[in-house]
Amino acid sequence: MADVEELNKPLFAGLSDVSIADDIPVEGQITVPVNSSSANDEISTLDEPVKDTILRDLKAVGQKFVHVLYPKKSSALLRDWDLWGPLLLCVSLALMLQGGSVDSKDDGGPQFAEVFVIVWFGSIIITVNSKLLGGTISFFQSLCVLGYCILPLTAAMLVCRLVLLSSSGITSFIVRLVVVSASFGWSTFASTAFLADSQPPNRKALAIYPVFLFYFVIGWMILTFSPS
């Protein structure tokens, strides 16, 4: 073994000397792939305008929204997770729920904080629960999926506010009930489509129950919201 190594060392040394000295095609092979890779793969985010960066991120968020609205078995939500979308959805939901009780001062604060805390702590609890049950999903992937799947409920909140603007009777309640229950079902279905694969097959029901409870509480908050 030692002899072989000693034999190899001078061989390599000689090769490198030769290539540096007068081997032109080797030089070409080294330089060309470096140029092409830097041109194609690494789009330098330092040089591009800020608008491009923001637009690209927004486009990624928008694509994930589409994934939630049309939940097929894709791993796009899981592969490159981000928390911008969940933050956006959570803040807009909390603001819309807040709007009703701005005028009465002691009621406004808790409402926003309550929604915020329910969304984030609820998803953290669901994530920890799925980890405890033996799920093979990373912490932030699960947070990302649960946050993005609030999208139908946020849309339902928007519809509810529009309905409440026009009328507030028994018909509007029925309309809101239908909208909220449909979006609740949609949220639960979408999140289970993404999350169920990471659970052991015999325990899916156990992991899905807290998800169901989480969206149920949010949906119920939206349904009982009334601008006073």
Binding site: P110, K131, L132, R203, A205, P210, T224
Partner: protein
């Protein structure tokens, strides 16, 4: 430490050191293994978690000791070579770095230690369903200790379900809580009852010489909350007082009886049985009463008449009391102004 002792031992006479050898082996790192083998839960996850934690802590201690030694050496140099300013800056930077590192490693340890809890969540859906049903069926088997599953998935989920139901009840009753949120109150009530009562009953059980562990107590009381959840969910939506009392006696009573039967089977002696089961039954049944009447529509009227507008903070008040108070104040001020102007 064990390495140095081992070295000392090898230096001693080989024929005389036989007994010492055994003792030192026993007091060395082998102790950890023995402790873990003794563990009654017998779960490999737990052992791994504990080992991991201990190794981490030892590493941390060693690293900190090394860091302080380094500081000592360099501080001396700094005093001689540079001014006090540089030394101070360096010390502050070191402190910040150490604190940050400690926080990060603590957070990481917490996340890594999830494995320790994993055995308690090792259940199948059908097992959970059966345990939920069994929590309503008291068994009349007193002579032989009844089995309690040491599992926390069901209790945790029941507590969260109860939080959701309580939120529902608070919202429909229009309860307003000053200096706090509905969510925080609901979570505090449910977790406080679960953890507080189980530790209290565990303490009483310890005094009464009952054979039960804290984990079993948590599981028993947690599954006992299933009856509460059912009763509260029904009575927050259907407002009949007679219905509530019937459900309270039947469903709440059944789940309490189940727990009482389990505790009786694991306790010896009439007095201790009476004390333990009386405590648990009273707490459990009264908690259901409290939850029903504290967050129910009718209580608003009672609060109005009892407390009036001058309510101290951290108390539930009806939604319109501040408005009424301000309206009254405004009208009195206005009328006084009118009277003064007319004069």
């Amino acid at each position: 430490m064990s390495a140095s002792e081992g070295a000392k031992n090898t230096n001693a006479e080989p024929w005389g050191g036989f007994d010492d050898n055994i003792m030192i082996q026993g007091s060395g790192s082998a102790v950890i293994d023995m402790e873990n083998m003794d563990d009654t839960s017998g779960s490999s996850f737990e052992d791994m978690g504990e080992m991991h934690q201990r190794m981490k802590e030892e590493e941390e201690v060693a690293a900190e000791a090394a860091a302080t030694e380094d500081d000592g050496g360099e501080d001396g140099e700094f005093l001689g070579m540079k001014g006090l300013k540089g030394q101070l800056g360096r010390q502050v930077a070191d402190e910040v770095w150490k604190a940050g590192k400690r926080q990060a490693s603590k957070a990481f340890n917490l996340y890594a230690n999830i494995d320790i809890l994993r055995p308690y969540f090792d259940v199948e859906p059908i097992q959970v369903r059966n345990r939920l049903l069994e929590s309503m069926i008291p068994l009349k088997m007193i002579n032989f200790p009844q089995k309690i599953a040491g599992e926390l998935y069901g209790p945790m989920m029941l507590v969260f379900t109860m939080v959701a139901i309580l939120l529902h009840g608070m919202k429909t009753s229009g309860t307003v809580i000053r200096e706090g949120t509905l969510m925080g109150t609901a979570i505090g009530t449910c977790f406080g009852y679960w953890l507080g009562t189980s530790s209290f009953v565990y303490f009483v059980a310890y005094l009464c010489n009952s054979q039960i562990t804290m984990l079993q107590m948590l599981s028993l009381l947690g599954y006992g909350l299933f009856g509460h959840c059912v009763v509260l969910f029904i009575t927050y939506n259907v407002h009949f007082h007679s219905l509530f009392y019937i459900l309270w006696l039947v469903i709440g009573g059944l789940s309490t009886l189940r727990m009482v039967a389990v505790l009786i089977s694991r306790t010896v002696g009439k007095t201790s049985r009476l004390i333990l089961c009386g405590t648990l039954a009273a707490l459990h049944m009264l908690f259901l009463l409290y939850l029903h009447f504290a967050y129910h529509k009718i209580v608003e009227g009672i609060l109005d008449t009892l407390e009036g507008p001058n309510v101290p903070p951290i108390q539930r008040v009806a939604r319109d009391i501040p408005n009424v108070a301000s309206v009254v104040a405004n009208s009195t001020v206005r009328s006084m102004a009118v009277v003064i102007q007319s004069q």
